[in-house]
């Protein structure tokens, strides 16, 4: 089985495993305890916080740990909505966001929020002018993800951040797919809130984080999970020490020179996969050629073949998906591709390939041959 679904989840890097192992059985303390076991856990958590903060140009006091990006997105949206009710109830987001953002917005609507869903162009990008026009005096937040999980398209984060700050609106970005892989600097990019996750960057599942700006402007966030007052009163619950240590280590690995080389090599493999498959009849890329996008993602459509048929064939040998893993059970066509202007049939005949650091040239060669013969067979029989 060849794994080409790194956007769904990643295996934990062995280097991360060896870093976190002591925190399970030996240094197992509760980071809130005052004795040596607790202090050791606390120190490890704070070192992790500092390391993650440095990676994104933040202060360590601005990093909150959560159970994952979904919780982070929920906290950012619900926490802000609650805190800024005095200013307004209007939130702007994008039609192509992850369900964690869209479903939180849908919930907030039942609590009195007004949500504007910005459309995207065929490139998957939002129109900055449209964003500017959508901002009102009662707008409290703009939520735009950094890089899309399905298309890999990268939004103009810095321009959005600038616009938001000019208009005195909080800018929240879900950077789950981008962290580690793209340079992010919360100061230069003018990000106020940023969600991220461990399991998309070769760290364990069950851990994530939220960057919360403390200065210029100081973002106020109402706690959603009450309890012991952990994480500066923004997120209670005993800290998942191994998970936190693992997430920081995983992020650190991305900055190692040898790792940078590996990551750069992924693009060549993606380009090869894409170029070979685009030669097949009826195969098109869903992303216009010049669009700025993640270097490890390809989103292709196989016209005249339904994705379901193709996936059924491919999934015996290839781990790929038709879109977000979170919605595979729903069988609905991808909301991201529909928003980019594809028809339902086109969306349903599309497949996302996402490569990762353990993808090999041989796997890509095999994948090309598997896909080629499957597509030919299916075209012949349809």
């Amino acid at each position: 089985m060849i794994y080409l679904d790194y956007n769904a989840t990643t295996p934990v890097d062995e280097r991360v495993i060896s870093r976190i192992l002591p925190f399970f059985s030996v240094d197992f303390g509760n980071a809130a305890s005052a004795h040596p076991y607790g202090r050791k856990a606390h120190e490890a958590v704070e070192a992790a916080r500092g390391s993650i903060a440095r990676h994104i140009g933040a202060d360590s006091s601005e990093i909150i740990f959560t159970s994952g990006a979904t919780e982070s997105c929920n906290l950012a949206l619900k926490g802000c909505f609650e805190s800024y009710a005095g200013k307004g109830r209007h939130i702007i987001t994008v039609a192509t966001e992850h369900a964690a953002v869209l479903d939180s917005c849908r919930y907030l609507k039942t609590r009195g929020a007004e949500i504007t869903y910005l459309p995207v162009q065929s490139s998957g990008l939002i129109d900055l002018e449209a964003l500017g026009q959508a901002i009102r005096s009662d707008t409290i937040m703009v939520a735009v993800m950094t890089a899309n999980n399905e298309s890999g398209v990268i939004q103009p984060i810095r321009a959005i951040g600038q616009l938001c700050h000019q208009r005195d609106v909080i800018f929240f970005t879900d950077a789950t797919q981008a962290l580690g892989k793209l340079p992010i600097d919360v100061q230069k990019d003018q990000i106020d809130l940023m969600a991220f996750s461990g399991h998309k960057i070769y760290a364990p599942k069950g851990v994530g984080g939220l960057y919360v700006r403390r200065k210029a402007p100081r973002v106020r966030l109402a706690e959603q999970m009450q309890g012991g007052g952990h994480e500066k009163g923004m997120r209670s619950g005993t800290l998942n020490v191994p998970g936190i240590v693992g997430m920081a280590e995983a992020l650190r690995l991305f900055s190692l020179p040898e790792q940078r080389q590996v990551e750069a090599g992924i693009q060549a493999l993606r380009d090869q996969l894409e170029a070979e498959l685009l030669r097949l009849p009826g195969v098109f890329s869903n992303i216009p050629g010049h669009t700025k996008r993640m270097s490890h993602v390809a989103n292709l459509r196989f016209e005249q073949i339904t994705g379901k048929q193709l996936l059924g064939r491919l999934n015996e040998q290839l781990a790929v998906s038709s879109g977000s893993a979170c919605s595979t059970e729903s069988k609905e066509p991808s909301h991201v591709l529909l928003a980019m202007g594809l028809t339902e049939a086109q969306a349903q005949s599309s497949i996302r390939f996402s490569l990762g650091r353990f993808t090999t040239a041989q796997q890509i060669r095999q994948a090309i041959s598997i896909i080629t013969s499957a597509a030919e067979d299916l075209r012949r029989t349809s």
């Binding site: 399970f24 994952g68 869209l102 599942k205 959603q224 009450q226 781990a319 979170c326 059970e329």
Partner: protein
């Protein structure tokens, strides 16, 4: 350096090596997203569902009633918020001795005007006054949530869950029981207990941190607390923490398989501590119902406030003895324990909580007592 003694197992426990062995493959080779339809996803989906079945069986409930969360705090927040928002509870009856998760969650709802908050009276021995609970329930026809913990994390007192469940049923109330200190430490048959919700956390019984369980009775329909995906049958969004889920189930399985043996081992340590504390320290006082309905793994004592006792926790720490003044969640804060404050409001006492696990020994208990003698 003297050897370190860990008597703070109510705060968190060491992960069992067997649990770690069960978890590790799910970090590396079996890493698929359970929502994915290919084999990587199918094998982790299977692991999650097997874990759910195992947990359900141990707790005497149906697998569809078990939901995995990020921990006890999330489970409790989910249950309490759902009782108010989805089940229409306008009154919450709780106690002044609850964990901060319950306390702060209920207070926030009350502050926002969504519920009326009532605190049930506490008897001298630290138990919930069931008569008072009954009076409160019969005194109003409002839809009510009762949220009370099974074993108190600071003093170990155990609630008569069956009696509370029966009262809840009689008055049509919703009953959430915070079982964070008892799941994995005590045989629970939730179907018999007439509870609607219970909370559990893996790291309290030698499982991993970052994973918890919420039991929701099948007759209750609630909305998710964390939104954004179809996981946990649309009840809890977010990619499943597979290694955590596998670890939780394994830890619970081990805990219950060796329950009798471990319980008597730990009970012996507690009994020995009690006996020696009584004979060596005239002024020691046992908090709560230590010799009665009390969890075998928790022992809370107090010493009168003196120059020496004020430095007790600090000095125990210096001598590598890990205990706590209250719950871990508040140990960093300078505010005293709300449990002690509620139980003994007028007394100047220094509380010390000893909490034991299967890894502790009688010898360690003696070492701790010997050290206490030197310090006091």
């Amino acid at each position: 350096m003297t050897r370190r003694i860990y008597f703070d197992n109510a705060a968190t426990t060491a992960l069992d090596k067997e649990v770690l062995d069960a978890m590790l493959p799910y970090l590396t080779t079996h890493f698929g997203n359970p929502s994915s339809i290919y084999s990587y996803g199918r094998e982790t989906r299977l692991a999650v569902e097997n874990a759910r079945k195992s947990v359900a069986k141990t707790l005497g409930v149906h697998p569809a009633e078990i939901f995995f969360t990020s921990g006890g705090t999330e489970s409790t927040n989910t249950a309490i918020n759902a009782a108010v928002r989805d089940l229409g509870c306008t009154r919450i009856i709780t106690s002044p001795l609850e964990h901060h998760a319950t306390m702060h969650c209920t207070e926030a709802l009350s502050k926002r005007g969504e519920v009326r908050l009532e605190k049930v009276a506490i008897l001298e021995n630290g138990h919930v006054d069931l008569e008072d609970l009954k009076n409160k329930l019969s005194g109003s026809a409002e839809k009510t949530l009762i949220t009370l913990m099974h074993a108190n994390n600071e003093i170990g007192n155990m609630l008569d869950v069956e009696a509370v469940g029966t009262l809840a049923e009689q008055y049509g109330a919703i009953f959430h029981c915070d079982t964070v200190q008892t799941v994995g430490h005590y045989p629970l048959d939730l179907k018999k207990l007439k509870v609607h919700f219970t909370s559990a956390a893996g790291h309290k019984f030698h499982g991993p941190k970052g994973i918890g369980v919420l039991y929701v009775n099948e007759n209750i329909k609630i909305h998710p607390f964390i939104e954004g995906g179809a996981q946990e049958r649309n009840m809890r969004a977010g990619t499943e923490n597979i290694y955590g889920i596998v670890g939780f189930a394994k830890a619970l399985e081990l805990a219950m398989a060796h329950y009798e043996q471990e319980r008597s081992h730990i009970q012996a340590i507690k009994d020995h501590m009690i006996k020696r504390l009584e004979s060596e320290f005239e002024q020691v006082r046992f908090n709560g119902d230590t010799r009665g309905e009390s969890l075998y793994s928790v022992l809370s004592v107090s010493f009168p406030e003196t120059e020496k006792t004020e430095m007790l926790l600090f000095n125990l720490d210096i001598h590598n003895i890990c205990v706590s003044g209250g719950s871990a969640c508040s140990s960093g804060a300078s505010v005293g324990s709300h449990v002690m404050q509620a139980l003994y409001p007028t007394e100047h006492l220094v509380p010390v909580r000893f909490s034991f696990s299967k890894y502790n020994t009688l010898e360690e208990a003696d070492l701790v007592i010997d050290q206490l003698k030197k310090l006091l």
